[in-house]
């Protein structure tokens, strides 16, 4: 087990290192942060050169990379070109918003997908199944920005039940979570359905039924518990990408998350923030995946990660 964790950590380091390389060099292909800085305040060529030198952008790339890596080792991603704030501070400020949105999305997805998926599987081929499947597919058939705007129109503007944007209270979390969760729930419901179908065909389900216990007990206790494994894997993977992949939802709902931070940074070519943000997300993603793997041991006693080949 220990060896396994260490091994995963090594993988993680490798992935993070490669990402640092790619991110570092690729963003430098996309344009110059200094001319962006001046694109609204006007400046001469000399002024631009001077600022560039100040930011250390005149040094040869390998030197810049070495500086970046050195900082990385101490979790110091440098300071934002745009605001001068330490990147670590910027990221940490947003971590909570991002986390709560990702969790909110997952909770909504679970609330929708588990009942739909389970019912669909249990009543396979029936009307319930048909509508459950259509419903979950409709959920993933909207562009998410459109869905978000529509939700705002309906629930914030016309019905005035919920606030449209911001990050102050639980109520603010509802609409963005639904937007995010709808999309997730479509995929999740499908997954729950197919895992349930698979599990319900297993011999031990017959065993459980032959004990004379109630249908519901068979489905939940014996069926669902076993169908949980692929579901947890999926949610783990999703959680990782949700942390960074919610840009559009964040944008629509003015959610101060890491996705927005990175996108803004990209728009400003704020290299340190891009680098820091991307690497932070990469680390989170790998760590979450590791945690998911470890959580298998809780759900499924068969899996002894330590013995994995």
């Amino acid at each position: 087990m220990f060896a396994y964790i260490v091994r995963r950590m090594l993988h993680m380091l490798l992935v993070v290192f490669v990402i640092s390389l790619i991110i570092f060099f690729s963003i430098r292909l996309t344009g110059d942060p200094v001319s962006v800085m001046f694109s609204t305040g006007e400046a001469s060529k000399e002024a631009i050169e001077a600022v560039r030198a100040n930011l250390g952008l005149d040094k040869p790339l390998p030197v810049q990379y070495a500086i970046f890596i050195k900082g990385l080792l101490t979790f110091d991603f440098g300071e934002s070109f745009r605001s001068g704030m330490p990147v670590t501070t910027l990221i940490m400020e947003r971590a909570w918003a991002t986390l709560s949105l990702a969790l909110g999305g997952i909770v909504v997805a679970i609330l929708i997908a588990f009942p739909v998926g389970i019912l669909s599987a249990v009543k396979r081929g029936s009307g319930v199944d048909f509508f459950g499947r259509i419903f979950s597919l409709v959920g993933i058939s909207f562009p998410n920005f459109w869905l978000g705007i529509m939700l705002i129109l309906v629930f914030a503007v016309y019905l005035q039940w919920l606030p449209a944007s911001g990050f102050d209270s639980f109520q603010h979390l509802i609409l963005p979570s639904i937007t995010l969760g709808m999309i997730l729930s479509g995929i999740l419901a499908r997954l729950v359905r197919s895992s349930m179908l698979e599990v319900l065909n297993q011999q031990y389900i017959s065993t459980a039924k032959s004990k004379g216990i109630s249908e519901w007990s068979v489905i939940m206790k014996h069926g669902f518990r076993n169908a949980l494994l692929p579901t947890v894997t999926f949610l783990g993977l999703q959680f990782g990408s949700l942390l960074g992949g919610t840009v559009i939802v964040e944008q629509v709902f003015s959610w101060p998350g890491i996705g927005t931070l990175i996108i803004d940074a990209i728009n400003q070519r704020d290299y340190p923030v891009i680098q820091g943000g991307v690497i932070f997300l990469a680390i989170i993603m790998v760590v979450v995946n590791l945690l998911v793997d470890l959580s298998y041991t809780l759900i499924d006693p068969r899996i002894k990660t330590g013995k994995e080949a």
């Binding site: 292909l29 499947r133 259509i134 920005f145 529509m150 197919s194 179908l197 698979e198 991307v278």
Partner: protein, 301 residues
């Protein structure tokens, strides 16, 4: 001993009339039929666009700007069935033409990622060892790299346009195919008929080509259908972030993104392209779901 799978119930094939079979098919596969219909609708629009549109998709007429749909119009001036857009172009015609971009992005994007992912997945799964390690680590990196950032990097190196979007989607989503195929290959590899193929003197190449590929094809196909749906949405999202296709070319994503500020004043500009996307994406998803149930019930996501 005998641990034989039960033989499936096969109804003795009697000659049935075509119509009966057709209706039986519809009744037995409502999901698939609905999906097929929706997909056919958008594919039909894309192919037949020049012949079925009532107006030119780029014929702007600033005087007809934001005309209401004819059936909603009170002034009696509007001649557009689904209304006019911000430049007074016929929304219906643009939606019909828009199918072209969406489908193109979907189909070609999937084609690229499919070919790339399949090749890498086959290599990774079949040969294992360091090649597997290498490809899977590359996949990890690809997954951890934010898509939007990747899109911006590629676009600033290669420029923009439909084909750039297609390329970006293609080279981002290979991971999905590669992982799927790798998993399947790894379990296929242990199947007896693969051992058999080796035993009768097959080379690695023959085995992959003749025995492995045909057996992963159905899952590839299923995932492909689902990715088409996803790509259509991603094109819209990229457009929302300002990285879309040339705005004169009618695209659903573009129409949606550009019309979001008119939602309260001219709802049709935002609603109809949204419905078009939704129906098409739903169609592909239904189709994929149905195919999966039929050909590949074990495929996860």
């Amino acid at each position: 001993m005998a641990n034989v799978q039960s033989t499936p119930v096969v109804e003795k094939q009697k000659k049935k009339s075509g119509a009966v079979k057709f209706f039986a098919f519809i009744r037995n596969n409502p999901i698939g039929v609905l999906g097929l219909l929706l997909v056919a609708l958008s594919v039909g629009s894309a192919l037949l666009a020049p012949w079925i549109v009532p107006f030119g998709p780029t014929d702007a007429s600033l005087t007809a700007r934001l005309d209401a749909p004819t059936w909603q119009d009170t002034t009696g001036e509007s001649q557009y069935f689904l209304g006019g857009d911000q430049l007074g172009r016929d929304l219906l015609s643009r939606i019909i033409y828009g199918a072209r971009i969406s489908l193109m992005v979907g189909l070609f994007g999937v084609l690229i990622s499919l070919v790339l992912g399949t090749i890498l997945g086959l290599i990774s799964g079949y040969f294992g060892k360091w090649m597997d390690d290498f490809i899977m680590r590359a996949a990890d990196v690809q997954l951890a790299f934010p898509f939007i950032l990747f899109a911006i990097v590629v676009m600033s190196v290669l420029g923009t346009g439909v084909w750039k979007i297609i390329i970006i989607l293609g080279i981002t989503y290979w991971v999905g195919f590669a992982r799927l195929i790798r998993g399947q290959v790894i379990s296929l590899k242990e199947q007896e008929f693969i051992h058999a193929a080796k035993a009768i003197g097959g080379t690695n190449f023959t085995i992959i080509r003749k025995h492995i590929l045909p057996n992963v094809l159905s899952s590839i196909f299923v995932l492909g259908t689902m990715y088409i749906a996803e790509f259509i949405l991603l094109e819209a999202s990229l457009t929302f972030l300002g990285l879309g296709v040339d705005p004169t070319i009618p695209s659903w994503g573009g129409m949606l993104a550009d019309s979001r500020n008119y939602i309260t004043s001219a709802w049709w500009t935002a609603v109809f392209p949204g419905v078009a996307i939704m129906l098409t994406v739903l169609g592909f998803n239904l189709l994929g779901d149905w195919l999966r149930d039929r050909y590949d019930p074990n495929l996860k996501v």
